[in-house]
């Protein structure tokens, strides 16, 4: 275009060549130069089909990596160039690609963000995907192909999808190389899973629906390392939260026993409001409400704080019951020795209290540990969250079962410790009789009656139904006043 225009101009100018020889030379030079430019420098030719992206769906839960040899879903997108048409696309998979069960293509054609109905026929094999459009796809449209259940090669590497397309004129054109997909080879976990896949006993095990859904061997193998990360995070939540709750709880328990009615009143409100509302609700209020007040905290830190606040109210009541269970005579004796109330509390009463509250406080620790799972609902990455996303991506319940085992890993030994401590406590306090009568019940209901024993030891609150054995169960959170009733000291003398 430009060249012909220039030639025309030159021809016309020839008439005036005598007048303007200098201009003529100049124009001739321009013409030559433009010729050179046209042939030497490659023009950005209108691309028939531009590959926009090639991605693959991470195929291991809890990670963003794509593992070779395991089915994934490849998404390929390309735009049709201006004044171009595309009749047929062939995408070639890297060598070593395999197809999983149910492999299929899903072809979407979009104009801007509007989906168009574009009839086409497509096939997928382990070598390539072929899409033939009934009518050529016009310029500017986005073609999106999702290839599901395609397993990329097993070796670690960067893989590209190559291919060809046929344009409106029927010419076969090679596609630009697509962005590479990073694939890693089997990790140890996958190697074990792969080995399990081939075992006949695994196959017959998984043929039972219950075992497949709840105790899938392959998923147990992948859950254990993934959930371990979550287990550490959950444990962290409670290991920070609980020590924080102890001083707050102790302070509140003192306020609950203060001389001034007003102080007692406010402390009672704190304890009763927190114990009278579900922790779940408190978490929601803290996570969705506080930010509106301008309080912006890391969600993990906020999680620790909410757990500490919640637990402090329960601990306050445990401590109060413990302190009040110490016989009045102890206070009187200390006073007669000339101790002031502060000295009495810290050197006489509290040391005795600590021993008595340890089993109940440990139960509270167990409860709090299990309650960390509630934080999953607000997006704190902890064990339940890891398990949930594994279940969501696999549609199998096994990660929940593995998760349960991780919780038990902490709660069972602690329960045992409580039981041992109670025995010692009972021996020290010298009322073995109570224990023997308890023992019978234990044989029937298991070995978890920490709170019961303390109740019996420090006074009968009457709130525990015999048989509500498991303090390691969140239902033991019970009514707001379960330990609040006054101790009667009757077993302690």
């Amino acid at each position: 275009m430009l060249l012909t225009g220039l030639k025309l101009l030159l021809q016309r100018l020839k008439k005036y060549s005598t007048v303007l020889p200098a201009l003529r030379t100049f124009l001739a030079m321009v013409a030559v130069l433009s010729l050179v430019v046209t042939f030497v420098v490659p023009q950005p030719q209108a691309q028939g089909l531009t590959v926009e992206k090639t991605t693959a769906k991470p195929n291991q839960s809890g990670s963003s990596q794509i593992i070779g040899g395991i089915p994934t879903r490849i998404t390929w997108e390309a735009t049709v160039g201006n004044d171009e048409e595309v009749k047929e696309i062939t995408l070639v998979f890297p060598e070593g690609t395999a197809l999983g069960e149910g492999a299929a293509n899903r072809v979407t054609v979009l104009e801007g963000s509007t989906r168009l109905e574009v009839p086409q026929t497509n096939t997928i094999t382990s070598e390539q995907t072929n899409i033939v459009f009934d009518n050529p796809v016009g310029s500017g449209l986005l073609i999106r192909v999702e290839m599901s259940y395609v397993a990329l090669p097993e070796e670690t590497g960067e893989y590209t999808i190559t291919g060809t397309y046929i344009d409106g004129t029927g010419t076969d054109i090679t596609l630009d190389e697509s962005p590479a997909i990073s694939v890693i080879s089997f990790t140890t976990v996958q190697k074990i899973q792969h080995w399990l896949d081939q075992q006949p006993w695994v196959e017959s095990w998984n043929s039972v629906l219950f075992l497949k859904i709840f105790l899938n061997p392959q998923l147990i193998v992948s859950s254990v390392p993934t959930l371990f990360k979550g287990w550490l995070r959950s444990l962290g939540l409670v290991l920070f939260g609980f020590p924080l709750a102890i001083p707050i709880g102790l302070a509140v328990s003192f306020l609950r026993m203060a001389k001034f009615r007003v102080v007692r009143f406010f402390a009672a409100i704190y304890v009763n409001v927190i114990r009278g509302t579900p922790l779940f609700l408190q978490i929601y209020i803290a996570f969705f409400g506080l930010p509106f007040l301008g309080v912006k905290l890391d969600s993990y830190v906020l999680g620790v704080l909410v757990l500490a606040m919640n637990s402090s109210a329960y601990l306050a009541e445990i401590f109060r019951a413990g302190i009040q269970s110490i016989h009045k005579g102890q206070f009187e004796a200390s006073a007669s020795l000339g101790m002031n109330p502060m000295q009495t509390m810290f050197s006489v009463i509290l040391p005795q209290t600590v021993r008595r509250v340890i089993p109940t406080a440990t139960s509270e620790f167990i409860l709090l540990y299990k309650d960390t799972s509630l934080l999953a609902a607000v997006g704190v990455m902890e064990q339940m969250m890891f398990a949930k996303s594994m279940v969501a991506s696999t549609g199998n319940m096994t990660p929940y079962i593995v998760s349960a085992c991780y919780y038990l890993l902490v709660t069972l030994p602690l329960t045992k410790i409580i039981a041992e401590f109670e025995k010692k406590l009972a021996a020290a306090e010298g009322h073995g009789e109570v224990l023997t009568s308890k023992k019978k019940k234990r044989r029937f209901f298991g070995d978890m009656g920490a709170r019961e024993t303390l109740e019996a030891a420090i006074g009968d609150s009457g709130s525990l139904v015999p048989g509500e054995n498991s303090t390691a169960n969140s239902t033991a959170r019970g009514p707001a006043n379960s330990t609040a009733s006054g101790p009667k000291n009757k077993d302690l003398r």
Binding site: T55, A56, S64, K296, K388, G395, K440
Partner: protein, 279 residues
């Protein structure tokens, strides 16, 4: 009576009571089966004559709770389909999105799952989908004060999506920088609340829902970019109940032909073209 025998008799009584309840349930089921045989309903559903629906009821304008009753495009569409088949549409209490498909697949709790489910090949292995009734895309929402201009700007940031959604999948597949943290929420409303609380920098979910939220409820936020995916919503039906799938697809053709569908569609999306529903 000694303490132990008291406990024992209590347990025995409990077991007896439970077995009675179980027998009772079986009896009821038998009755229902007979009813449907009598021709009260042309297709078999969990409760005869009733189409039991599982939904998260938190995805405006598709389905949301208006007071304690669901409302929205999908709600009206299902009512029209129910009328056509001759089933009363009843909703279970709002379900978590990521559990609905598994419940539908088990075929014991709900007949259909309706929560703007994008049809894809992975989900098709679990359940059947009806003819698509809506074309959708993904979108990323951020606060208006945030500097982001496109979806890939969020690569390496903390972002949120609803658990089990195609939005969550998109983030995992495309935002591959090591720094990216994906927080998953049960409900779309929690996702938006978390964005406004500053817990996440961007929220990834379906574009029509994002548009609804930023226009009405969270006006401090905006859609940063629409991500064209051209995904389509279908009603999920258990693979064990192909008759119900057929009945719903046929009903969709009928309401498309008699204009009911277009009326419902245009009420909610006046600027869009109603899909063909295979009619």
């Amino acid at each position: 009576m000694s303490q132990r025998s008291k406990v024992l008799s209590l347990i025995t009584a409990l077991i007896l009571a439970m077995s009675l309840v179980l027998v009772g349930c079986n009896g009821n089921n038998g009755g229902n089966g007979n009813n449907s045989d009598n021709g009260d309903a042309p297709v078999k559903t969990i409760t005869a004559g009733v189409l039991t629906v599982g939904s998260d009821c938190d995805y405006p304008p598709f389905i949301e709770l208006d007071g304690d009753q669901p409302a929205g495009y999908e709600f009206e569409l299902l009512n029209a389909i129910g009328d056509e088949i001759g089933l009363t549409v009843e909703y279970l209490a709002p379900q978590n999105f990521d559990t609905i498909l598994a419940s539908v697949a088990s075929g014991t709790k709900m007949d259909v799952g309706v929560s703007s489910f994008t049809i894809n090949d992975e989900r098709k292995q679990l359940v059947n989908f009806t003819t698509p009734y809506f074309d959708s895309n993904q979108a990323v929402v951020a606060m208006k004060t945030a500097p982001y201009t496109k979806a890939m700007d969020f690569n390496g940031l903390t972002v949120g999506a609803q658990s089990g959604t195609t939005g969550a999948d998109w983030v995992r597949e495309n935002l591959t920088n090591a720094g990216t943290v994906l927080k998953e929420y049960n409900q779309a409303s929690e996702l938006m609340a978390a964005l406004n609380a500053g817990d996440i920098q961007g929220a990834f979910f379906d574009e029509p829902v994002a548009a609804e939220y930023v226009a009405k409820l969270y006006t401090d936020s905006q859609i940063v970019e629409s991500i064209p995916t051209g995904e389509q919503y279908g009603i999920s039906v258990s693979k064990d109940n192909p008759e119900l799938l057929d009945a719903i697809n046929k009903a969709m053709v009928t309401i498309k032909k008699n204009g009911t569908f277009d009326k419902i569609f245009l009420k909610y999306f006046p600027e869009l073209t109603p899909p063909s529903l295979g009619a």
